[in-house]
């Protein structure tokens, strides 16, 4: 239970809000790199700011104010050039720093004029890594964009994007809530499949440990012991807005009532045949079943979305009743509230990496998983995977299996 004031403190992320200032200290993924291959300009709303993300013809990224300072036209309808983004209304051109480079008619009439040099729009740093486009909206110098070791793992990778109509914080609380797996995913899925017999193994103990980049949460269920990797290693609540279980699920605030759920997945491939993807595919995962008007409930993350959305657009934490299963949630709230004070005092919050020597294939605790030995696995996390994405994975799996030892049976 929280006071309304505390709840707002944790949920509101617009510029100038304490949590907004905290989250602006981190890099956030906002799109798949593949998206910016298909279209050169994309509207992006993040942390309550409307922006235009672009990739110019030189391959450089920019993230600038969505509105041209000339007459406020929408720059996401502009077009890219060798250097920068040009407004489609009167042709003003801006580079990735926000500097205006060209004002066609002004310069025709006043070739010696210097007006363009005085015009600069809001612009933020952008980087591409692991098939994702990352942006940084905070004060300089920016921390380093984390270089997680999992990005280098051999396997088929894909990125998904969904817009979830609720506040980011209830999404992230889910990242440190072990017991929900038993009910939301295991037991409910059994019911949805028409299985009304045995329930999933019940949770017996929970543990939470802080480490450099977040917290691990650990569990013992009725079918596991203290020797199990889910207890010795656990899963990762990655600071400040991600879940890591071998794949990553970021919860990026669009604004206070919408969250960009952007995820990075990897499927291990059999054998050891070298495998590299030219482009990591990115696809938009639907959240609603258009036939019924209900939220999709067939896949793991879709089930999470139902829980988050069901809590309300912004969960009213004055009305909740916390218990033992919520220790992780309380831990996260406390740590974030501490971080708010750190930022207010001018210090770095938890988990930033500023030392380049530390930022090389940084390890995150991982409960290992193995490549399927019997065929390509169906994608269980989100509904709506395009056939061509699955086909690309299946093709990679079969190619690797064919070159692998004989115990693999390519029957997929």
């Amino acid at each position: 239970m929280l006071s309304d004031e505390r709840n707002r403190l944790l949920c509101q992320t617009d510029p100038g809000t304490p949590m907004g200032e905290l989250l602006r200290r981190y890099w956030h993924p906002v799109a798949g790199a593949a998206e910016l291959r298909r279209t050169s300009v994309k509207p992006v709303r993040i942390l309550g700011e409307d922006l235009a993300l672009y990739r110019d013809r030189s391959g450089n990224y920019g993230l600038v104010d969505r509105h041209c300072p000339h007459r406020r036209a929408d720059l996401t309808y502009g077009f890219t050039e060798e250097r920068g983004l040009r407004c489609n209304y009167h042709g003003w051109l801006f580079d990735h720093t926000g500097q205006c480079l060209h004002q066609p008619f002004e310069e025709t009439l006043h070739p010696e004029g210097r007006f363009k040099e005085k015009v600069r729009i809001k612009a933020y740093q952008v980087q591409e890594k692991a098939g994702l486009i990352w942006v940084y909206l905070g004060p300089r110098p920016a921390p380093l964009l984390p270089d997680w070791d999992q990005y280098y793992r051999r396997g088929f990778k894909q990125v998904t994007v969904s817009e979830v109509p609720c506040n980011w914080f209830q999404c992230q609380e889910n990242s440190i809530d072990p017991v929900h797996f038993e009910w939301l995913h295991d037991n409910w899925s059994r019911v949805l499949r028409g299985e009304h017999g045995d329930r999933a193994p019940a949770h017996q103990r929970l543990g939470f440990d802080e480490f450099d980049y977040g917290f691990t949460y650990r569990r013992i269920r009725a079918d596991t012991t203290e020797e199990h990797p889910l207890w010795t290693t656990g899963r990762v609540c990655l600071w400040p807005n991600c879940l890591y279980t071998g794949h990553f699920e970021w919860r990026v605030p669009i604004d206070d009532t919408r969250t960009l759920s952007i995820a990075w997945f990897i499927d291990d491939l059999p054998g050891d045949l070298p495998y590299e993807q030219d482009v990591i595919p990115c696809w938009e995962a639907p959240v609603k079943d258009e036939r019924t008007g209900r939220w999709i409930d067939t896949h793991v993350m879709n089930q999470d979305y139902i829980a988050w959305i069901g809590q309300g657009v912004i969960a009213d934490r004055t009305m909740e009743h916390l218990g033992e299963s919520d220790r992780g949630v309380i831990l996260m709230r406390k740590r974030l509230l501490d971080d708010l004070e750190e930022v207010a005092a001018g210090r770095d919050p938890k988990g930033l990496i500023r030392d380049p020597e530390l930022n090389h294939r940084v390890h995150l605790p991982l409960v290992p998983f193995a490549a399927s030995a019997t065929g390509p696995r169906p994608f269980v996390f989100l509904a709506g995977q395009p056939k061509e994405v699955f086909d690309e994975y299946a093709q990679a799996w079969h190619a690797c299996a064919a070159a692998a030892p004989q115990e693999l049976t390519a029957d997929g």
Binding site: M1, L2, S3, D4, E5, R6, D149, G207, D209, E210, F211, T216, E227, H228, P229, T232, T233, T318, M319, H321, L322, G323, E324, D326, R327, I330, L331, R333, K334, L337, H363, P365, L366, V367, P368
Partner: protein
Amino acid sequence: MADATTGRVRSAAEAAEARAYGLTRADLVEWVQFSPIEIYWARKHHLTPAVARHWAAKGLRVGDAVRAIALGMTPEEVAPWAGAGFAPFDAVEAKETGVPLETAIAWLQAGFILPDAALLIRDGWTLEEAVVARYAGIAAEDHGPFPVPGCMADSAETESRPLVMELRVSARHQVRHRWSR
């Protein structure tokens, strides 16, 4: 992976984690009862195996032991908390947040686990306020006893309802007051 010296069996998953943290077989023998991430964390915070084991004997993992030491605690401070029914790591949380054992017991008896209580106390709630707020949402949905098929609610239940209503109004008022601070 079984260690020849200790007989401790580490799973393939633990072995992979150990490699990721750059731990050697000798490290794993020296830190036999600890997981790779605990060993990494202990070393980062200059905790020796002997000290870590001493805290572990009191029920604290390395992460909580590191916090406890930073707070100037001794392992012996854990026992009263464990004896009162709290998890051992609650002793560290209480020390960090300044919640005395008697206060924690009172809040626990009212339904608030220690970290929840500590956060509420930090935000200025009294136990009385918190109890009212905690049950206000539930009491507000109290429309009286469900009728049992074949039975009518007895007069005692009917007479108790005005009191429930009064409590409900009071609780709502206090919660609203609390939010408006």
